[in-house]
Amino acid sequence: MSRYYIIICIYFLVAGIIQIIFGNMDLAFMAFPVNAAVAAFIAVLLFILNREYGKSKVISFLASLKTTAVAIPVFAACCLVIALFPKFNFTTSYIFNASLLLISVNLFLSIIRYKGRFGFRFMMNHVGIIMIITALSLGSADLKKLKVIIYEGQTVDMAYDGNGTPCKLDYEISLARFEASFYEDGTPSSYSARISAGGREKILEVNSPWAKSWKEDIYISGYEPYPDGLCCFLEIVIQPWKYMILAGFIIFAIGSVMMIFGGKYGRQRT
C-alpha cells in the first residue's frame, strides 16, 4: 500500500485515539470567531503550502483523485454510523470531523489546482460543496434553537433551549391571534399565528417563517389544546452562517444543472 494511504490511516487512527480519550467534541469552544479563524487559517495554510510545495508528492496526493477515492467512502461510512446509531451523536465526533476535514482539504486543493476543461462547472460543484460543508460544520457552533410557549393574547420574553434551560430574549413576543383549521377527520389543514416582536408584526404559517434579522428566524412549530385555549409553540432559530450555506447550495445547484445538460466528461471512454 502506498505510504500516503498509510498516512491517511494513521490520521484517522489519531482521530480515533483522541475520540477515545476526550469523547465527542465540545462545539461551544468553536463559536465565532474561533470557527471563522480556523477556516481562514486552514485555507491560508493550504494556499501557501500549495504555492511553496505544490509539486511535492504529499500535496499532490492530498489534491488528487486518490485522496477523493478514500475520503468519499470514509464519509459514507461515517454517515452510515449516523444513520444506524443516532444516539452516538457521531456528528460531533473527532472521527467524523476528521473525515470532513480530509474532504475539505481535498476539495480546496483541487479547486486551486484545477486546470481541466470544465472549469466553470467544476468550480460551481466544488466551491458550492466546500461552502456547504464549511458553513454547516463550523457554523453549527453558532446555531441556536429556542422554543417559545405562548397563549393568545400573551406577551413573553422567555424562551427555552433544547435542554429546557430558560433563556431571556432581548425582546418581547406577543401572540395577537392564533388560528387553526381542520379537515373533517380532525387533522389540521392549516394554522397561523399573528405575532409581534421588536415593534413589528408578522403572520407566521408553517413553511412561512419570519426572517426577523439576517441571522434570526421565527417559526411556528406547533400547538397544543389546553382547557384555557390553544397553546402555540414558536421556535427561534439563530443561524449566522445561514446565507453562506444558502449561497453554497445555490452554487452547487448551478453546477448540478450544468452536469445534467453537459453530461459526462469526454475524457473517459471505454
Binding site: 459514507a76 454517515c79 389540521p188 445547484a253 459526462k264
Partner: protein, 260 residues
C-alpha cells in the same frame, strides 16, 4: 379519476409498454412502431396521474403508493430515452418489467388516501423536491439495469452509457438534495439536521460520487464500476423507503403516510 380506475390504466399501460418492448427484441428495426407503443404506455400512465392530480386537488406525492406512480412513470420515460439514445434492444423490456412491478404492487395493495395534506407538506418546494428525486431514481434505475447487464455478460461496453446516466442521475440527486435543504430551512429551521432520510441521501450520493471520481481517475475495471452502481442503487432503495424499517429512523420527519 380515482384509484378505483387505476387497474384499467395500469393494465393498459403495461400491455402497451410490453408490446413495444417485445417488438424491440423481435424486430429491432421497426423503430417507429416500437417508440409509438412505448410512448402510448407512458401516455396512459401520465393520463392517470394527471387525472388523479386534478381529482385530489393536490399533487399525488404524499404516500408511498403515489410516489410509486411517479417512479413507474419516470422509469418508463427514462427507459424510452435510453432506448432512443443508445438503442439497447433489451432496455425497454427491463424498464417495463420494473415499472410493472410497482404498478402491480399498487393494484394488489392500494394505498388510498383522502385529500388530507398536512401543513408541513404545503410548500412550493414539495413538488420539485419529490419530482426531481423521482426522475433521478428512474435514471439511476436504468444505470442499475445496465450495470447488472454488464456484470452478467461480463461486458464493459455499458460503461459509457452508465457514465452518462450516473452523471445525470447524480446531478438530479444533488438538485433534489438542494431543494430539500432549502425547504428544510423554511420548514424546520435548519438546512441539514441529519434526519435519517437526509443521512441515507448523503450515503447514496457518496456512492455515485465515488463512481464518478473513480472513472475520472482512469479506472477501467468494469466489474468494480458496475458493482459500485449496484451497491449505490441498493443504498438508494434504503434512502427511498428502506430507512423506515430501521428502528433508528423512527423519529424521521420524512415518513410518507400521514395518519388520520
Amino acid at each position: 379519476m380515482s384509484w378505483d380506475s387505476f387497474h384499467f390504466y395500469a393494465i393498459t399501460s403495461i400491455l402497451l409498454s410490453t408490446a413495444g418492448a417485445v417488438l424491440s427484441l423481435v424486430s429491432p428495426g421497426r423503430g417507429k412502431p416500437i417508440r409509438t407503443l412505448a410512448l402510448a404506455g407512458i401516455a396512459v400512465m401520465a393520463a392517470f396521474i394527471a387525472g388523479l392530480w386534478i381529482s385530489l386537488g393536490r399533487p399525488p406525492l404524499k404516500t408511498m403508493g403515489e410516489t410509486r406512480l411517479w417512479y413507474s412513470f419516470f422509469v418508463l420515460v427514462t427507459g424510452y430515452a435510453v432506448y432512443t439514445r443508445w438503442n439497447f434492444r433489451w432496455i425497454l423490456l427491463l424498464t417495463t418489467v420494473l415499472a410493472s412491478v410497482f404498478n402491480i404492487i399498487n393494484m394488489a395493495r392500494p394505498e388510498i388516501h383522502d385529500q388530507t395534506l398536512v401543513p408541513a407538506l404545503q410548500s412550493f418546494w414539495f413538488i420539485p423536491h419529490v419530482t426531481i428525486y423521482m426522475v433521478a431514481y428512474g435514471i439511476l434505475a436504468c444505470s442499475f439495469i445496465l450495470a447488472l447487464a454488464g456484470l452478467i455478460r461480463n461486458d464493459m461496453q455499458y460503461l459509457e452509457s452508465t457514465d452518462t446516466l450516473v452523471y445525470i442521475g447524480t446531478a438530479m440527486l444533488f438538485l433534489g438534495l438542494t431543494t430539500g435543504a432549502i425547504w428544510a430551512k423554511q420548514a424546520w429551521g435548519n438546512f441539514w439536521e441529519w434526519d435519517p432520510k437526509e443521512t441515507w441521501a448523503a450515503v447514496t450520493c457518496s456512492g455515485y460520487l465515488l463512481y464518478i471520481h473513480l472513472r475520472l481517475s482512469g479506472k477501467k475495471n468494469a466489474r468494480t464500476m458496475y458493482w459500485i452502481i449496484v451497491i449505490s442503487f441498493l443504498l438508494l432503495q434504503m434512502c427511498w423507503y428502506g430507512y423506515q424499517y430501521i428502528p433508528a429512523s423512527e423519529n424521521s420527519m420524512h415518513m410518507y403516510n400521514i395518519s388520520k
